[in-house]
Symmetry: C2
């Protein structure tokens, strides 16, 4: 199943041959992004073969009318999706008036690299046309981190054997299509186009959501490295192209430096777009590609300085983890609280670029540990800013009094998902949002965020849980009926242990923080009470309910039960499933999956992961050994959680096996689906497998703990963590483990349960 | 909520005023059908107001591409729906070259009647046009029972005040639309049109399913009752109109007798269509409308002779039950095993004219008790003929070895429904199909149907159940996980008592019949074993499983539990639901409905209805009193079952209340939805409320039992039943009950537990 198309290298992604069947996969893998825009690695020039064109402007979405078989009350009417945006990377090439098309020539050499150290994408092609012309293309580009509206391309065509007329035509084009359209709606409206000598722009507007987007390009042409102004213009509705034509002798070349990109109404008001991007374009052109690339390199240096994980003696693992870290940084930079992390980032259309619980459950630790606090705060603010919509969403479902249900899938805070068993029932997402607030407090040690903003979210969530549970006279406990847990291969179950436990924890945490605030900052507490119309009896009610929630448990196996009735299932382990029936979600009908014991992704075990220090090692062992054999890991988010837990149980080989299932998921295209885009959010899981798994990192009682284990295949590994504003580095080799304070004040840290005494910059074994 | 638009009359449906807002509702209520075609009561002449045009040719469907939000393995790709067919009833009218439109004139008098005794529909309108012309329309029509391709219309226009030029233009038209189209597909293709002097036809073909349909008309015109040949022709693509024009003085009239209808490839091969319908048309025209109506009357006389239920002193109840019996007879005549009974019959597009479990669970007793056996046999054969497709359907879901899962919704045996919780999980439908076979045996006393055909269906169904259950080590019983019971307000529950019990019964009944056949007819038994590849161990396996199925039970209340965990619910009775939140399915989100205790329609109680003599009166009482207070009756199929059971408990007043909820559901338009079409299958439930409810009819041990109770509001009621080929009539008055043998041999019958001794035609108190 595994593809070997991508070559191994510690810092580079390399494709050294051309395979038309891999074009779409490589378009995903070589995607570029800078948090504000993202592009699949589409060729600049025209390509008639199978390709999935995709350029995305972050946060610019269209509310596509939902397609649904049978409507249910409370369903949202639209699914907001980030759109394929007008193309600014395009450069058509003509030789002797024939349009160059890699699908129609003989390719001699094809080398594509993505240098993760700098974010530079390069493609070199040598080819022979049907007519016998031998030529080379050299194309390189990057999306600037230092200027989020800017992308830079250098593109040259060189002739080898005979003289030829060559035209190079960089263009911008608003006549684009979305693959993922439910009703073939038109998404974009062309408002205006504007052309100057070497600068052109298109103003488009999304229908309904009315986002303005300016797509622009600026160009400088060269013949044999000598600048030339001898170019002309072609335009049609929504498409503007510069045309540079030259008669070349063998070994001569033409080159264009093109800058371009987007400016959306999320970034600037539409009136300012032209002035803003024209300034960027002209200044960038005058600096030139190479000078801009230097700036880009220093930006990436800073990122890697903090975020890199180095692994010795396992080049595939090294490449894999760096690819994951690279893509997470390309997707989200934490500058804008309107943005978030979609499961496919800006590498494809699936999942519509929307936000899932993946952000809080899997990505949050990565960003808080490798960036400064403001990035994590922006992730929290994303939900804080959506609180009112979460309350409105809960009202739609019959809840009252400020109860908040955050959406399963969203861009702007409104629910977009339409399957009742998910939309209405997979409510554990609320707990992940509370848990991210808790994680923020543990990582930063700062209480003010919760006092000022976080408590509003926590109260809304606790109000939801306190209404969502109901009292069972039969069990004499509060039960939670009709939910879908993290294991989506069970729907509408009663008393999903994870959800019940998480609800209990949310209410307890909210109560605890409120009590703490009332003691420490009575004035703040009063403000909170007034702002949220919160009374003491309401808080007491949560405490009472939290203390009396039913938590299904099986005494015989000493395990928590995933849900009521789990032991009634035909408990055959995953080993008995014929391999040709895996993954089961592609082969079995839904009812068969539902009544099977098979677990899509960690569910009870997700609780052990989240609430790591609530349970004994014995409990973890029992539950892990019970549930792992039923887990099919058909979510890319699953193996990493099992890796972390296996490592907790000091089963490093098993943890390593799980690690391998995610670290190169996209590079090796395990599921034959990378052409649709990358699994961005599960990449954070891979980071967790190393940091919390092999590094054994935990935070408790205001201290950071490490209990490292080295996978057999590795000589060493190391990574850095931002803990309470200080940067510490863990290095683990076959012989020893080191913890070094890289920056900041000494913090309370433990290595293998022994406290580490840092000097200003200290290390211990 | 109730509408008083329809006037009361024991035999007629009457609308005596024109209300543009009631046009669509009346189009449903006044629908005509003859089992082979059906028409909404659309005006013959053009109408620009709100109208829902519908003419349906039975069994002619289009496989409309399904609309679904999230695809699941095993979903069918299309939803077969009976289509709006070309219009043959149309007659345009022009006065002085202005097209008559009831929406644009002043209506003086409007009287519409449907005489249920004869199936004759009549409309009389007197109106004044904007121009001041006073005229009357008299339109009457029926669909022939004696010739299923034939409909007859008599239509006249009379002038009152001033002279005017009148044109009457009867037409056929293939340019029609379907309201219920998922993807705006074209459904019909025009193949050819053919015109003779007074006969015209259109040959259309459905796309994909390729049904040929011939739509035809024949016409005779009269001026002041004198036949006239002075008419002309207008045609355009897919539309053929005769035009009869006359200058009329006051009190003169023009009249057209029009015959027309459909002949589909289900009835005749396409090559024969023209000859066939032309003969029908010309012969019918020569007989004339009044002679044809006489034939029709004698057909309906025969039906009513057997099927009528008379009720004294309650005109609304009388009209209600007759309307239900009338519509059931219009929908299904039992002549063609390719046809069945759609929930809306041929009165609207909703539910696509498809077959649901309604047929076996609710309609079957009506047809077997009021028709001869061949009608019931055709209903059984419908499923028997679909057995192979039911086996293929089960294979799609992972079942093997001839296990059969009949579809939830179908026209041709293939599943059409696409909600996993219904399609894959509402599997109790299989039991209803077995139960109809059982009912057939009890009503007819004949064993040969099961021996020759029914056993194949029973074996397929038992194979399904034996694989669908699984052994719970926890419960040491066979359990059935992940089902949806008759109460669709619960999805994906474990151990739905009704489904478990019905599965157990199916396997037991199949085993019992196989053993019986092996004893009585060993050769037949051997043929069955060979035909079905059936071994003794397989049968023993069913017996073992049937004897060891888990049946959830609550000792404290002495009730069967609707499903595992039902008592964990917040058991507030329906009385606490605010009336503005009823029906809950229009006001509550799906999760809220699911976790509530509210029951859409009889579920445990459906089992008490089906398996009436398996349980004691005490058990019935306990379960009825427990579940009724949670039942919201948001299916039109629900109150009738509760009516029958309340009557069993000798609670005649309560039974009467339930009866009222269904008997005039459409006439009084309780749910403000009659414009979509009539609730045909629930009409059979109303019949059950009287016959099995107030009549207390039961069949057991080869005898028929009655224990009648008279609702207070009624002076008397009576009905006839076909039991084992003999017709018996029950008459119940305030003073006594009589059972009379009308026809056939004496049968074993009991009235109020006392055996009735019939002479050739006897009665007892």
């Amino acid at each position: 199943m595994k593809s070997n198309h991508i070559k191994s290298d510690p810092w580079k992604i390399i494709e050294d041959s051309f395979d038309p069947n891999k074009v779409e996969a490589s378009e995903s893998i070589f995607s570029l992004g800078n948090g504000a825009m993202g592009h699949r690695a589409n060729f600049e020039e025209y390509y008639s073969g199978k390709t999935f064109q995709g350029s995305y402007a972050a946060g610019v979405y269209y509310p596509d009318k939902t397609r649904v078989g049978w409507w249910k009350n409370g369903y949202p009417e639209y699914f907001a999706k980030v759109l394929n945006a007008p193309n600014w990377i395009g450069i058509d090439v003509y030789y002797d008036n024939v349009k160059l098309d890699l699908n129609k020539v003989t390719i001699q050499k094809f080398l594509r690299t993505l240098d993760m150290r700098t974010g530079l994408y390069t493609r070199q092609v040598t080819l022979t046309t049907h007519e016998g012309l031998n030529l080379s293309i050299f194309a390189t580009r990057f999306l600037a981190l230092f200027q989020e509206e800017l992308g830079c391309i250098k593109y040259s065509v060189k002739i080898h054997n005979v003289a030829a007329n060559i035209k190079v035509c960089p263009y911008i084009d608003a006549n684009i299509k979305n693959k993922d359209s439910n009703w073939d709606d038109q998404f974009w409206e062309l408002k205006s186009q504007s052309i100057d000598e070497n600068f052109a722009m298109l103003h488009t507007k999304t229908f309904k959501s009315e986002f303005d987007l300016c797509t622009y390009q600026g160009v400088s042409f060269y013949k044999n490295s000598i600048p030339s102004k001898e170019y002309s213009l072609e335009k049609s509705s929504g498409r503007i192209s510069y045309v540079f034509e030259a008669n070349l002798a063998p070994n001569e070349e033409v080159m264009v430096e093109k800058v371009g990109g987007y400016c959306s109404s999320l970034q600037q008001s539409q009136q300012k777009h032209k002035k803003h991007v024209k300034k960027i374009a002209l200044e960038s052109l005058s600096k030139g590609f190479d000078a801009l690339l230097d700036l880009q390199k220093s930006n990436w240096d800073e990122i890697w300085e903090m975020a890199d994980i180095s692994i010795e003696d396992d080049i595939k693992a090294q490449q894999g983890i760096r690819f994951n870290i690279f893509q997470l940084n390309q997707t989200y930079t934490g500058k804008n609280p309107l943005l978030n992390i979609g499961p496919k980032g800006y590498t494809g259309e699936k999942y519509g670029g929307s936000t899932y619980w993946d952000t809080e459950a899997f990505c949050f630790p990565f960003y808080i540990a490798t960036k400064n606090e403001s990035v994590a705060e922006n992730l929290l603010n994303y939900r804080y800013n959506h609180l009112q919509k979460a309350i409105e969403n809960a009202v739609k479902l019959g809840f009252t009094g400020g109860a908040a249900l955050f959406p399963m899938v969203t861009i702007n805070g409104e629910e977009c998902h339409n399957e009742w068993e998910i939309t209405f029932e997979e409510i554990h997402r609320n707990a992940a949002i509370a848990h991210a607030i808790y994680a923020y407090e543990r990582y930063t040690g700062k209480t003010t965020y919760v006092e000022n903003k976080g408590i509003d979210v926590l109260v809304g969530i606790s109000r939801f849980w306190s209404q969502r549970i109901s009292f069972s006279k039969e069990k004499k406990k509060y039960v939670m009926l009709g939910v879908t847990g993290p294991n989506e291969y069970e729907n509408n179950v009663n008393n999903n242990w994870y959800t019940n436990y998480a609800a209990k924890w949310c209410m307890e945490y909210t109560c605890k923080r409120l009590i703490q605030i009332s003691k420490d900052k009575p004035k703040v507490h009063k403000t909170i009470q007034e702002r949220l119309d919160l009374s003491n009896p309401e808080v007491i009610d949560w405490e009472e309910k939290a203390s009396n929630i039913y938590l299904p448990y099986d005494k015989k196996n000493d395990i928590f039960l995933q849900q009521d009735g789990f032991l009634d299932k035909d408990l055959k382990k995953t080993l008995v499933i014929p391999s040709e029936e895996r993954p089961i979600n592609q082969h079995w009908s839904w009812d068969r999956i539902l009544r099977s014991p098979y677990i899509k992704q960690a569910d009870v075990l997700q609780g052990f992961y989240f609430f790591e220090n609530h349970f004994s090692n014995e409990q973890l062992k029992n539950n892990f050994d019970f549930y792992e054999p039923y887990t099919v890991h058909e979510s890319s988010l699953s193996p990493s959680i099992h890796a972390v837990l296996a490592a907790s149980l000091e089963r490093v080989d098993q943890a390593y096996d799980f690690y391998l299932q995610t670290s190169r998921l996209d590079l090796d295209d395990y599921n034959a689906e990378v052409h649709e885009g990358l699994h961005i959010t599960s990449m954070a899981g891979t980071w967790l497998s190393i940091v919390k798994g092999f590094g054994g990192m935990r935070i408790k009682d205001n201290a950071i703990y490490f209990s490292p284990q080295l996978p057999k295949a590795w000589k060493s590994f190391s990574f850095k963590i931002n803990f309470r504003g200080s940067i510490i580095e863990l290095s683990v080799s076959k012989t020893n483990s080191l913890l070094i304070l890289i920056k900041g004040n000494p913090v309370s840290a433990f290595l293998n349960e022994k406290q580490v005494i840092f000097n200003s910059k200290s290390d211990v074994k």
